[in-house]
Symmetry: C2
Subunit: 93 residues, 2 copies
Amino acid sequence: MTAKLSDAEIETALAGVPGWTRNGDGIDRQYKFGDFTHAFAFMTRVALLAEKADHHPEWSNVWNKVDVRLTTHDAGGLSKKDFSLARAIDADE
Amino acid sequence: MTAKLSDAEIETALAGVPGWTRNGDGIDRQYKFGDFTHAFAFMTRVALLAEKADHHPEWSNVWNKVDVRLTTHDAGGLSKKDFSLARAIDADE
């Protein structure tokens, strides 16, 4: 069981991941690339980070765009895992 | 410019890709795997097929599930490209 963050904790954590927006129980970010190849290369990197963290995104791709949503189902909201993965994704970008 | 298929042509083509469902201007299929690793391995194979065909899916992934939608924007509906990619994906599964 992962602890659900409070609104105040979420606000603080969001300040550390510019580009991400809170959307209900999760945080969202859209990434845009030059073409599909670059978008999918990004997805491959994120897939490896997610598998390593044992925490996986809900995401979609349309050609050069990748929409990523992070939430922690077993916490019923946002947890540290979401912000940790968001930072890892952005460090990797 | 890719030719848009007629309803009759779509019906015939759909018979050749069991598992796919027509949904407005596109065809949809959900694939389910044992875990994220297998789902993403499938996505990687589809990404290579799509890039080779120069025809890309609109798709999303949540852990072990991959939802794939195929449509041809420049045809304003379904074209042969969609069914050709659907067959390639399923041959590859």
